[in-house]
Each structure stands twice: as C-alpha cells, then as structure tokens.
C-alpha cells in the first residue's frame, strides 16, 4: 500500500533536523514513503467549534491530496499535524452533514469520505516496521543512555485519535528500548509543554518548561525524546530562559536518536538545530564522532 508523507510547514524550516533524520532512518530501514507533491499547512490545531467549518478546509484538503496521490495512508512527524489531520479525517468519516457541506463547498476538489488513514510516524515504526526489525538493523545501539519520553498532548489526546493510551502510554518507551537505550519514565511525560502560550502567556509557558525539566532531572535522565516542534521549542530552547543550574537537559526528536542508532549519515541529524547540550551528550557518550564538530 502506498504511504504518503505530509511534512507540514515547520518540518521544512525550523525542524529540518526532525524531517531529515526521519527520512534517513526510513531509508536505512528500507521502508518507503512518498512526500505529497502539493500540500498546505494543516492549521496546526483542530478547530473545536461545531458551528463553523472554515478551519476544517485546510486539513481536509491535505487528506484529499493524499487520496489523489493514490495513498492508502498518510503519515506525519509533527504531533500537531497528526492530531489535526486525524481529527479532520474522523469528521469526514463520521459526520455526514458536515462531510456533505465541506464537499459541496470544495467543488474544485474530488469528494472525500475519509478513505485515507492518518498515521503518525511512530505508528509506522511500531505497526508496519516493528520494533524487532529496528532492533535487527541497529548499527550503534544507544547502550547506557537513559532516555525519557515526552509525549506532550497531541499524540495521546483525545483518545479517539491517540496513538496509545491517553493515561498510560508505552509507545515511546518501547521505541527507546528498541534503540538499545534505557527507557526511563518520569512524572511529566504526558503533560503539556505550554503550547502556543509561549507567545501569549510566556510566564505561564515557562512554568511548564521548568516543571518538565525538573521532573526529568529528578528521574536522573540523560535526555528527552519528543515528536513535536513546539514541544521541542518549549522544552528544549526555552531552557535558556530558566538559567537552571546543572546545564541544559538535552532534548531530541525521536527520529534523531533513531538515525544515530541505525548508523545513518550524521548530516541527516542536523544537531546544529537542536537546543544546547544535545550534540555534546552524544559526543561524550561516543555515539557520534566529536571530530565532526565545527
């Protein structure tokens, strides 16, 4: 079955490290996805109003692009894109009245009924590729690295689109274990990073950053992995606002650690785009060559 890949705007700009490492990992695993030829921003957040369908047009158009590409599934890396597309898809599948209204509005598009399935990249790894195949393909197991998952919100909630249990998920722990690292749970793994409030209520957002970083430190983790460019900004880059003692807690996109463990070319990881501490940690553990540093 053909699988389309929907990147979303942030993966093509600030989060090249997320996209490049993920695509390099798929290549190393011999698994193929095809980027959509045309796509638009999904809108970042699913509209929670029921009396206005305007904000559903963007994600539904993306789904139509995947259908036109002949794909059975469309996959995303950004948790928010995933959530927005998956919820819009459910709307098109389940709400006949809204589906008809939207289809009638977009006369320039073919009708869409939710035929395409929206899957997050982690679901591809778990369900299509499988942890065993990943384990078998490891070139550089991340032995001894204590890694904690930061799920954030959009991978898990609401439960109709969650890729795992909304209260007791394990997918990222299993992923970390498959890389040969030591999966380490911590108290704030399913909490919110503060999301867009970083712009509107930055002090409230920073309290989130502090809470998550302190909880992770309390569990003695070496690094966090996550799946959302906004989480990465709020939990990774915003640490510089905290002036926390003990230096930065490294934050990675899950795909970066996957690429390292699979022995993919280091350029694909683009650690230069990460917040402080990420690249240094891997060098210190001998997982990437220190010589490559500029």
């Amino acid at each position: 079955m053909k699988i389309s890949y929907y990147p979303g705007c942030t993966l093509k700009s600030k989060a090249r490290n997320f996209e490049d490492s993920a695509l390099a990992s798929l290549a190393a695993l011999g698994f193929e996805v095809t980027e959509l030829e045309r796509w638009n921003c999904c809108g970042a957040l699913f509209s929670l109003t029921t009396d206005d369908l305007l904000h559903q047009l963007a994600p539904v158009r993306v789904l139509i692009r995947a259908q036109q590409a002949g794909a059975g599934k469309v996959t995303t890396l950004c948790s928010q894109c995933y959530n927005t597309l998956a919820r819009a898809n459910r709307l098109m599948r389940e709400d006949e009245e809204k589906r008809n209204t939207l289809n009638q509005f977009m006369t320039e598009e073919p009708d869409y009924h939710g035929q395409v399935e929206v899957v997050h990249f982690l679901q591809l790894l778990r369900d299509e590729i499988g942890w065993e195949r990943i384990r078998a393909a490891l070139k550089r197991p991340l032995t001894g690295l204590k890694v904690a998952p930061f799920y954030g919100c959009m991978l898990l909630r609401p439960k109709e689109v969650g890729i795992d249990s909304p209260v007791k998920p394990s997918i990222l722990m299993d992923f970390i274990a498959a890389l040969g690292a030591t999966p380490t749970d911590f108290a704030a793994a399913e909490e919110c990073c503060g999301a867009y409030q970083v712009l509107a209520a930055p002090e409230a957002g920073l309290k989130r950053t502090r809470r998550v970083v302190e909880a992770a430190r309390a569990s003695g983790v070496d690094a966090l992995v996550l799946s959302c460019p906004l989480c990465e900004y709020n939990i990774g880059k915003q640490q510089q606002e905290l002036a926390a003692p003990g230096g930065a807690l490294p934050v990675f996109y899950f795909s970066q650690l996957l690429a390292v463990a699979l022995g993919a070319a280091e350029e694909s990881c683009r650690f230069d785009l990460n917040a402080a501490g990420a690249r240094e940690l891997l060098e210190e553990r001998g997982l990437i060559a220190a010589a490559a540093r500029k």
Binding site: G8, C9, T10, S13, K14, A15, C41, G43, A44, L45, S47, L48, T49, T50, D51, D52, H55, C78, Q80, C153, R157, P158, K159, P166, V167, E190, E191, C192, G194, A195, Y196, Q197, V198, L199, A200, A201, E203, A204, K207, R208, R211, C228, P229, L230, E232, Y233, K237
Partner: protein, 135 residues
C-alpha cells in the same frame, strides 16, 4: 477568588450559547474539581477551570469571558480525558474564546511580538497562537 453565586433562577443563556458554538453542555458539570486538579496551566489561571464552569452554570457570562481561564488554556485536552462527566472542556474553552473573538477582538497582537521571538519560534507556534487567539 471568591465565586459569586446568585440566588434565584439560574440563567442558562450562556450555557446555550456555548452549546451552539461547541456542541458541549457545560450545565452537566458536577463541580468535582478534577479538571482543575489535572490542568497544567491552572496555576496561571484566575479563576480555575472548575470555577469557570460554575460561573457559566450561574449565567455569569461577563465574568467568564473576562476571566483569564480560557485565554491561558493551552488546549492540551488533559481535562477532557479525566472529567468524570465526560465534558469536552477544551470545547467549552474554545466557545468562550470564540464569543470574544467573533466580536473582532484579538487577544494577541502579531505586531507586538518582538522580532527576536519571531525569528526564534517555530512556525507552528505562530499558526497555533493566531488560530486560538485572533478573530
């Protein structure tokens, strides 16, 4: 903060308006406080999520719209997963925001964002903030 509970017949106009916008019935809240207990933003909100639901149930729409609660909500959906009454609280928050935003009153000024911040944040932060906080 102390919550003002009026005597007499409860006014359900705002509850009906919220249901119209979001499909959610805030009148079903039983004031258990679970939402406030799990909300990651609650310490920055005034009043709390539970208290906001109470304001709505008592028709205090002015206070509910002015309160920082819906504007500090990050739409994280933690409360939705935990509410024992199964209320989609994030939709209630969205409806409150929409009642203000639909009057063309933005709650974030794009021109007021410092240039360094604009250069640093991922596009997703801007798109999300403008989606939630502008008309």
């Amino acid at each position: 903060m102390s919550v003002f509970i009026p005597l007499g017949v409860l006014d359900d106009a705002v509850i009906r308006k919220i249901a119209e916008i979001s499909g959610e019935n805030a009148g079903r809240c039983m004031q258990c406080g679970t939402c406030s207990a799990v909300c990651p933003m609650v310490e920055s909100m005034q009043p709390s999520v539970r208290q906001l639901m109470l304001l709505l149930q008592h028709g205090q729409s002015g206070a509910a719209l002015e309160a920082s609660t819906a504007w500090t909500c990050a739409a994280c959906h933690t409360c939705l997963v935990r509410c024992p009454r199964g209320i989609d609280i994030p939709r209630v928050m969205e409806a409150i925001r929409q009642m203000v935003l639909r009057e063309n009153l933005d709650r974030i000024n794009p021109r007021g964002i410092p240039a360094e911040t604009l250069a640093a944040v991922p596009p997703i932060a801007l798109v999300a903030a403008f989606r939630k906080l502008t008309a």
